[in-house]
């Protein structure tokens, strides 16, 4: 456990150390400052504007911004949908995969434009290289950039006053991709390739087995090795919190995640941009101490949950323990614990930590089988998502949700100090509460109603492979993940059915747009207000007491709603063996 804690601390520490300069860098990019980066890439940026007839100085109000965002996403979705349908007739398809079936293509398109990357397919047996690169990888960039463009106007709404201008969507989108995502992905992809992640356009490899064997009456003589342009997709899928793997095995696959170093760096990559965005918020809104308070609040929520997940998975199955079956080896990280579904290269603690990070951020990548985690470790995954992806969360969208929670915290705190609540000088009035509520309200409704539909219809129950409380967890997970735009799969559920394609697709769409459009409206309202000067009478948003209030609000307003459902799923399952042993002894 000591090494598990050390690993957790190391990942978070490295992330924060990298996020600090990245946040400052992004601030300089978005403020349009002239510095080395804009001097280098400025001509490209200006050329893009010229070609697409964008007036970079023309700012938009929240409605125009939102419409531009929606149209952009819609076009991206339609393009991806079409590309998947007809990939069979297009080049760069060495394995000659046919077009993706309609239901799955719709689900995938919706999933990738919303940064969810819920995958109801296996990449290496479904997608052509063209689909992977031009379709999925492009959307990995654009959906991540969309997340940031959701956040930027909200920050501007807080930072600016008496204006309806919230920035220009096209400029924000261009700058995000050009200055932030592309360079970072490029560097990260090179590091990954150096470590052994593959990057090729050649067709799948056929290897003759040294020791052929018989299986199912057939003589197996050779093995197909799926390959492809993996590193380029892997880099953005981690950095952009997409999580949709090239291969079905995702980051458990040695071609995606070959070494301990890549495993470490991929974890850092997942939380890097969400953390940097908090610091960016600090710079842009001139609220650095509040930004730090938010980082601390996220850590306060994240660290105990991640450690609990690692602890339960390392402790292994208590039933085995009670009959004196040793599950623990000496090497703390790799050996021991609940090894089912775990890559030896990564180990139990490394898998649990990876799982926590992938669900705390909206990445949803996996380097182990989440279905095989100990029930409470899987429960931590669920819980991290059910907090509304506010703890680090998706790139952009995560901090946006956290800001909505902060508005609630400020509202309660402001009342408690006897003033009309204000957040960084902006008065929080009925409209703001209404929009923040709408945004926070959508996700629990989607998850609870969606799961209720899954458990009460034959179509929903049909997908479940496992009996007992675990089966319930599987359905709960299958709805929670898309509704939070996480995209991680618990497994143990056949999700490529009409029922799940439809319900997860709807959850993804509502979870994305119904959650963030109200926040854009909120940004519009905040920007119009004038700033109230801060004084001794105003609620400070950087103090330990505010951090505890914020953490309390996230838990009470956000996550407490899921306590009954979690009790019937992971909690009942985890406690079950204990009860059994108690009764047998």
């Amino acid at each position: 456990m000591i090494s598990a804690i050390a690993l957790t601390v190391a990942v978070l520490l490295v992330t924060i150390l990298l996020a600090l300069p990245l946040g400052r860098y992004m601030d300089r990019v978005y403020s349009g400052e002239t510095f080395w980066a804009t001097r280098m890439l400025g001509p490209v940026e200006r050329m893009i504007y010229r070609i697409s007839a964008i007036h970079p100085n023309r700012e938009m109000d929240w409605k125009r911004y939102a419409i531009a965002l929606l149209i952009f996403n819609l076009l991206g979705g339609v393009f991806l949908y079409g590309l998947l349908l007809v990939q069979g007739a297009l080049p760069l398809n060495p394995e000659h995969f046919p077009g993706v079936p309609g239901g799955s293509a719709f689900n995938t398109a919706v999933s990738f434009i919303t940064n969810t990357n819920w995958q109801d397919y296996a990449g290496e047996s479904t997608m052509s290289y063209l689909s992977q690169m031009l379709g999925l990888t492009v959307q990995n960039f654009l959906s991540a950039a969309t997340g940031i463009t959701i956040l930027l106007p909200i920050i501007r709404g807080i930072a600016r006053q008496k204006t309806s201008d919230l920035g220009n969507f096209w400029v924000d989108m261009t700058r995000t991709v050009l200055y932030v995502l592309l360079p970072l992905s490029f560097i990260f992809a090179l590091i990954l390739m150096e470590q052994g992640v593959i990057q090729t356009l050649s067709s799948y490899l056929h290897a003759h087995l040294i020791a052929p064997f018989a299986s199912g009456g057939k003589q197996i003589t050779h093995q197909v090795l799926a390959v492809g342009p993996v590193a380029s997709q892997e880099a953005i899928m981690m950095l952009g919190n997409n999580g949709g793997g090239f291969f079905n095995a995702n980051d458990a696959h040695p071609f995606e995640n070959p070494t301990a170093l890549t495993n470490f760096l991929e974890m850092v990559a997942m939380i890097l941009i969400p953390t940097a965005l908090v610091f960016l918020f600090g710079h842009m809104a001139k609220a650095r101490r509040t930004a730090w308070a938010m980082v601390v609040a996220m850590l306060v929520l994240f660290i105990p949950l991640a450690l609990a997940s690692e602890h339960f998975d390392l402790a292994g199955n208590p039933l085995f323990t009670s009959v004196h079956v040793a599950q623990a080896n000496t090497s703390a990280l790799v050996g021991g614990g609940n090894l089912e579904g775990v890559e030896d290269r990564v180990g139990v603690a490394g898998s649990a930590l990876f799982a926590s990070i992938a669900t705390a951020t909206s990445t949803g990548a996996a380097n182990s089988a989440y279905d095989s985690l100990m029930p409470l470790s899987g429960g931590v995954n669920l819980f991290l998502m059910q907090m509304g992806e506010a703890v680090f969360g998706g790139v952009g969208s995560g901090l946006a949700t956290m800001l909505a929670f902060a508005i609630f915290a400020v509202f309660l705190g402001g009342l408690m100090v006897g003033r009309t609540p204000e957040f960084l000088g902006k008065k929080i009035e009925p409209f703001e509460i209404k929009m923040a509520s709408l945004s926070i309200l959508v996700m629990p409704l989607l998850v609870l109603i969606g799961t209720a539909m899954a458990v009460s219809t034959a179509a929903g129950r049909a997908g479940v492979f496992n009996p007992g409380a675990h089966g319930f967890s599987e359905m709960l997970y299958a709805i929670t993940s898309p509704a939070n735009n996480n995209g991680s799969a618990f497994g143990g559920l056949s999700s490529d059915t009409r029922f799940y394609n439809l319900i997860t697709g709807l959850c993804i769409l509502f979870g994305r747009y119904w959650t963030y459009l109200p926040l854009l409206a909120l940004a519009g309202a905040l920007a119009r207000k004038k700033k109230v000067p801060l004084g001794a009478g105003t609620l400070a948003t950087h103090t330990p007491i505010f951090i505890s209030l914020l953490v309390g609000v996230v838990l009470l307003v956000g996550a407490l709603n899921f306590f009954p459902a979690l009790a019937l799923g992971p909690i009942a399952e985890q406690l079950a063996p204990l009860a059994t042993t108690l009764t047998t002894h």
Binding site: F563, A567, L568
Partner: protein, 686 residues
């Protein structure tokens, strides 16, 4: 002055009894619909009642449990109604006592505003705005208006509680008269300014009775939050039924599906009933507190705005300093001794009845106790006039004068005397200290100066320090020159001052602060204060003020006590704090209720969930019942807090937040664990 109330002691027993019957009468759908949180409880109560009869008819063993749960659900509603009814009753008691002063009065209506024209008597209620009315000694002023002719002593004790009569006269700053007050002497001709039913008194009655009480923006925001929480918990409990059904039939294959009764119980426990029930009472209690401070607000909004104020614009005179200046020192010149100066100053002031004059006499007698001579009969008095700006006496052939230095200088020079440089220096020195110099001369010879000082109120500096800790800046407004103003500002500890203030400069200063985003409050009474009162976020008008000022302000202080502004800020803050604290408490309570109900509801499906019963409650039914009972009982337990408001201490936001998060956040987490456990132990005993 500030504790003179018209409010009779509240007869709690009587009130509680009445409120109890009210709370039963309020159990109608129309009435409950106004409060969405409680409406959900209302629907749930009917639902469980129906289930109770079903169980009874089918002879189910559950009937008893269902019945008891339902009983407590109805009690929850009754307690909530009781809180509101009690607050309303208190308001009504206040309104009734006010209404007694508004008996049907006859009004002497005039055709034109002239003394001597015949009047005819009409009922006071028939008067319209613009009518002219004559009131004479013994009459009750029929409605609000403005005196345009005459001077009269008016007893306003019915409104203000202040027994000393006040003077009202046509024109000028003391012209406003209030319906329901009594003329003691002389007469007035009044122009009616508000229709019957819309007077000041009526507004006040309407406010306390809640008829005109619209929800403030802040209340609306909080209500939205409560509705959203209710909606989420509604979905949480409704979806729990299929979850439980699945777990019983497909997952564990044991136990029973959660019953509707338990689901309703869980729902009622989770939704914020505590704050939902107490919210109306908190609002009414806030207005009541304001009324008890003898302040009438035109809207609930104004009270909340008072809590938001960050700048107070305070008139120097009366608020920061006592109204009068006092002599504090003698400065002899040209070889005169201090005693000579004191004697001359005393003599010149003996006939001076103003507080300043008296203070000169007092100072002289204090310094030189032997001075006892009386004003000789032959002495000729020279009264103060605005033109000469001096006063004095001709005493045994000597002309003794005191007055403003510049006019004294002219007078001395006109008599051929010389004005010493030395005296000019002293005068400058006195002015620089924030005091007023008074020159004293005997015939053509200047004897010296007397220093008249504004006396800053004793406790005011500490109060300003408190305000500063709360983040509220104080700005002193005075007609004094900047030098004097600065000195007094420093002594009183205000943050800023506005010297040589005129109505326009005042207005400009208000706009400047508002432009910087500050909310500000001010007091005023004159017609020329009206624009500034209207511009300020909180404008407090003195009851003695003119009609124009009253209409521009959003609060009126019946005691005409400018220091009241500080109290109003506190009341506004306390109102918001009470709301926030009880909301936090209510939401934090949910954790314990989950731990009581969830294991109880699912232990038959998954026996291992019994481990979540960390309170070790005796049985599932007891656990659910205990949670419901706690949820109901906490409402009446918190009624006193809702009506009184949570404890207020002048402190920084930081400290207040810390205290309230500890008490109501952490307390709200822990209290129900203890409460539910205790109730469970009692249930075992029964």
């Amino acid at each position: 002055m500030d504790s003179a109330h018209t409010i009779a002691e509240i007869d709690w027993k009587q009130q509680a009894k009445g409120a109890f019957w009210d709370s039963l009468r309020m159990l109608t759908p129309q009435r409950q619909w106004h409060n969405p949180v409680m409406f959900v409880v209302y629907i749930g109560s009917w639902l469980v009642l129906a289930l109770f009869f079903r169980d009874l008819a089918s002879g189910s063993a559950e009937a008893m449990f269902t019945g008891v749960i339902d009983l407590w659900l109805w009690l929850t509603l009754i307690f909530a109604n009781f809180a509101e009814a009690l607050a309303e009753r208190q308001g009504q008691a206040q309104a009734n006592s006010l209404r007694q002063t508004r008996q049907e009065v006859k009004a002497k209506k005039l055709h034109k505003p002239l003394r001597g024209v015949p009047y005819h008597e009409v009922p006071g209620a028939s008067l319209h705005s613009g009518d002219f009315v004559l009131v004479e000694a013994g009459d009750i002023v029929p409605t609000d208006g403005e005196a345009i002719l005459g001077v009269a002593a008016v007893d306003e004790s019915a409104i203000t509680g202040e027994s000393a009569p006040v003077i009202r006269e046509g024109g000028g700053d003391r012209s406003a008269v209030t319906g329901g007050t009594r003329v003691l002497s002389d007469w007035l001709i009044i122009r009616v300014s508000s229709e019957a039913g819309n007077t000041f008194l009526d507004q006040m009655i309407a406010m306390v009775e809640g008829a005109a009480r619209r929800k403030t923006p802040n209340e609306i925001a909080l209500s939205i939050l409560l509705v959203v929480l209710t909606l989420v918990f509604l979905v949480v409990t409704i979806t729990l039924y299929p979850f439980s059904w699945y777990s019983v039939h497909y997952a564990s294959h044991s136990g029973t599906v959660i019953s509707i009764t338990v689901l309703v119980a869980l729902l009622v426990c989770l939704i914020p009933t505590t704050i939902g029930a107490l919210l109306p009472a908190i609002g009414i209690a806030g207005i009541m507190r304001l009324l008890r401070a003898n302040v009438v607000a035109t809207s609930g909004r104004a009270i909340e705005a008072a809590g938001d104020v960050d700048v107070l614009l305070l008139d120097k005179t009366g608020t920061i300093t006592y109204g009068n200046r006092e002599a504090v020192a003698f400065y002899p010149v040209q070889g005169a001794t201090e005693e000579q100066l004191a004697i001359a100053a005393r003599r010149a002031s003996l006939a001076d009845d103003t507080p300043e004059g008296k203070s000169v006499v007092a100072l002289a007698e204090e310094k030189f106790t032997q001075l006892k001579e009386k004003l000789p009969d032959a002495a000729e008095l020279v009264a103060f006039s605005a033109e000469t700006r001096m006063s004095g006496v001709d005493w045994s052939g000597k002309q003794l004068r005191k007055g403003a230095p510049d006019s004294m200088k002219e007078w001395v020079q006109s008599l051929g005397g010389t004005w010493p440089e030395e005296l000019d220096a002293i005068i400058r020195k006195i002015a620089a200290m924030g005091a007023t110099p008074l020159a004293v001369c005997e015939d053509g010879r200047a004897l010296g100066a007397v220093e008249l000082k504004d006396i800053v109120k004793r406790d005011i500096k500490a109060r300003f320090a408190e305000l500063r800790a709360m983040g509220i800046r104080t700005v002193m407004v005075t007609g004094d020159n900047p030098l004097t103003a600065a000195a007094i500002a420093a002594e009183a500890g205000v943050d800023d001052y506005l010297a040589e203030a005129k109505p326009e400069t005042k207005l400009a200063r208000i706009r400047k602060y508002q432009g910087e985003g500050y909310m500000l409050a001010m007091t005023g009474d004159g017609t020329n204060d009206a624009p500034a009162l209207a511009q300020a976020d909180v404008g407090l008008c003195m009851a003695s003020g003119t009609q124009a000022a009253r209409e521009a302000a959003n609060m009126v202080d019946l005691d005409s006590n400018p220091t009241k502004l500080l109290e109003i800020v506190q009341i506004g803050k306390q109102l918001l704090m009470t709301r926030g604290a009880l909301t936090t408490f209510s939401v934090a309570n949910d954790v314990a209720k989950y731990f009581a109900i969830i294991p109880a509801a699912f232990v038959s499906t998954y026996p291992q969930l019994g481990l979540l019963n960390i309170m070790d409650l005796s049985s599932p039914q007891h656990a659910i019942l205990a949670a419901v009972i706690f949820n109901a009982l906490i409402i009446p337990l918190l009624i006193p807090l809702a009506l009184k408001g949570i404890k207020f201490r002048a402190d920084s936001a930081q400290h207040i937040l810390r205290r309230n998060v500890w008490i109501y956040g952490l307390g709200g987490l822990i209290a129900p664990f203890i409460g539910i456990k205790l109730i469970d132990m009692l249930l075992v005993l029964l």
